[in-house]
């Protein structure tokens, strides 16, 4: 099997205890697999559970049922049932995630925000910062901004810092939640190139992209998430 990631019978319902136990079904019967070097784009209107699926793969949201298997060099981990420390280890070794918004940390310089996952994975800090700088340049973040905390950056700049952070390490699975939403055409093209490069290197990618051009450029398969709509 060349599947790096495989979801099977995954379902998710939120129970809102503060609203009298209101149940909000999000998705049910989610079923798809991603192979090495393949990019799967999740499509569908807002509120159909695309981001929730990404968050379940990353382990931020719990699954009510089903399995999410990630192949980490032949070692298969089921995120849906893994212990917290297994998920943390999996994130370090196998799961990259570019969220919609950068969660800025006070006082930490942009270049260190980008380099952090590499440093955590054991790459020497100087080396990690060098690679972070190269990627920030490629994403058109001027060098004078690298030493500043990104909290004061524009939306597009923050998003590019976030992209650089997610793309810096070579992880087998990469999850992208609207990575180009606040970017201009030039920077969108850079992201398309970065995704193509990741695919060549064998990454399995799951992406949410609303921009038609970007989607056409990166998707090998488009999955309509409305088919996983949970019955209310």
């Amino acid at each position: 099997m060349t599947n790096v990631l495989a979801l099977s019978a995954v379902s998710k319902t939120f129970t809102m205890h503060l609203q009298g136990g209101l149940r909000l079904p999000v998705v049910a019967g989610v079923e798809f697999a991603v192979q090495r070097g393949q990019c799967v784009v999740l499509a569908g209107p807002s509120g159909t559970g695309k981001s929730s699926i990404l968050k379940m793969i990353f382990g931020t949201y719990r699954c009510d049922s089903g399995s999410i298997l990630v192949d980490r060099d032949g070692d298969i981990v089921d995120v849906a049932s893994a212990e917290p420390r297994q998920i943390l280890a999996l994130r370090r070794a196998a799961l990259g995630y570019v969220s919609q918004f950068l969660r800025a940390i006070p006082r930490v310089a942009a270049i260190d925000v980008v380099a952090e996952p590499l440093v955590t994975a054991g790459v020497p800090r100087d080396n990690a910062r060098q690679r972070a700088g190269d990627l920030l340049s490629w994403l058109n973040i001027p060098e004078r901004l690298w030493s500043l905390p990104p909290a004061t950056f524009s939306g597009g700049e923050q998003q590019r810092v976030n992209i650089a952070r997610g793309f810096l390490s070579d992880l087998p699975v990469l999850l992208l939640d609207e990575p180009t939403a606040s970017l201009d055409a030039g920077n969108r093209a850079v992201v398309v190139d970065l995704v193509a490069e990741k695919k060549r290197r064998g990454a399995a990618i799951v992406a949410i992209v609303h921009d038609d051009d970007v989607r056409t450029a990166i998707a090998d398969t488009v999955i309509d998430v409305t088919r996983f709509a949970a019955a209310a």
Partner: protein, 262 residues
């Protein structure tokens, strides 16, 4: 930074309970902490957070349950079975304890250098020059001007005192640090600096830590896992982002939804 190679937990709490007379402090707390792992214990005042911290660090005797700790030699004694001298030795060498009030964790009338150096002497350092050098080095690491090494902490600001307390705790390279509201009572800008500092140190030293805080932002920033306590019981635990972004229990949902966005 390398990942700890052992799969054995550093500390295991089993069914820890504490009653103060008929008043429940903490009931049936069980979890395992691994090397390099940071657990935040959150909950409101009176939820049993501090009781749990004191039980874990054997400052309180449990009414039921036990705490197992993996010593450097690989043995895993029940902390209650250790003698007082052995426990004190553990406290001075392998553990740190950061109090909310720095005055509780520092000696306020002796110099900053002595506050830090004392921990090194406790683990057998004797050479004055090396102790002073190491103390000065640690002051720099916690962003205190080493020129102020001979001043006593009463002349320091609140934020500096807290950073000094952290230096005093970490200088002897403990494997496990307990922190009770380490950022409580500080101005937000001072807090941000301290948090960033703690975050870096915990990662660089691959420290295991149990941090009690009522501040969920602090928990998100510093911890890998979160334990939510209410009325003396653990109501929910899990990955930090999971507990905060997909809270399962009614009480956790209330806590998370009670935060005012900045």
């Amino acid at each position: 930074m390398t990942q700890p190679d052992t799969d054995q937990p550093l500390l295991v709490a089993e069914g820890l309970s504490k009653w103060y007379g008929r008043q429940l402090g903490c009931r049936d707390a069980s979890f395992a902490l691994y090397e390099g792992e940071v657990i935040a214990v959150v909950g409101e005042s009176g939820s049993g957070k501090t009781t749990l911290l004191q039980l874990l660090s054997s400052q309180l005797e449990p009414s039921a349950g036990r705490v197992l700790y993996r010593m450097r030699d690989g043995s895993t004694p029940d902390l209650a079975a250790l003698g007082e001298a052995e426990r004190r030795f553990l406290f001075r060498t392998d553990w740190g304890y950061v109090h909310q009030d720095p005055a509780a964790g520092l000696r306020m009338n002796v110099s900053a250098g002595a506050n830090v150096g004392e921990r090194l002497m406790a683990v057998g350092w004797q050479h004055y020059g090396r102790i002073r050098h190491s103390a000065s080095d640690w002051l720099t690491r916690v962003e205190i001007d080493p020129a102020r090494i001979d001043e006593a902490p009463w002349s320091y600001s609140g934020g500096m005192r807290q950073r000094l307390q952290i230096a005093r705790n970490l200088v002897s390279r403990p494997r496990l640090v307990f922190m009770d509201e380490p950022t409580g009572g500080l101005d937000v800008s001072v807090q941000a600096r301290l948090l960033d500092l703690l975050r870096g140190l915990v990662a660089d030293l691959s420290l295991a830590a149990v941090i009690v805080t009522h501040d969920l932002a602090v928990a998100r920033l510093l911890s890998h896992r979160i334990i939510v306590m209410k009325d003396g019981e653990m109501v929910e635990s899990g990955l930090s982002d999971q507990v905060l972004d997909d809270p399962r229990e009614a009480y956790t949902q209330l806590l998370v939804s009670s935060i005012l966005p900045p």
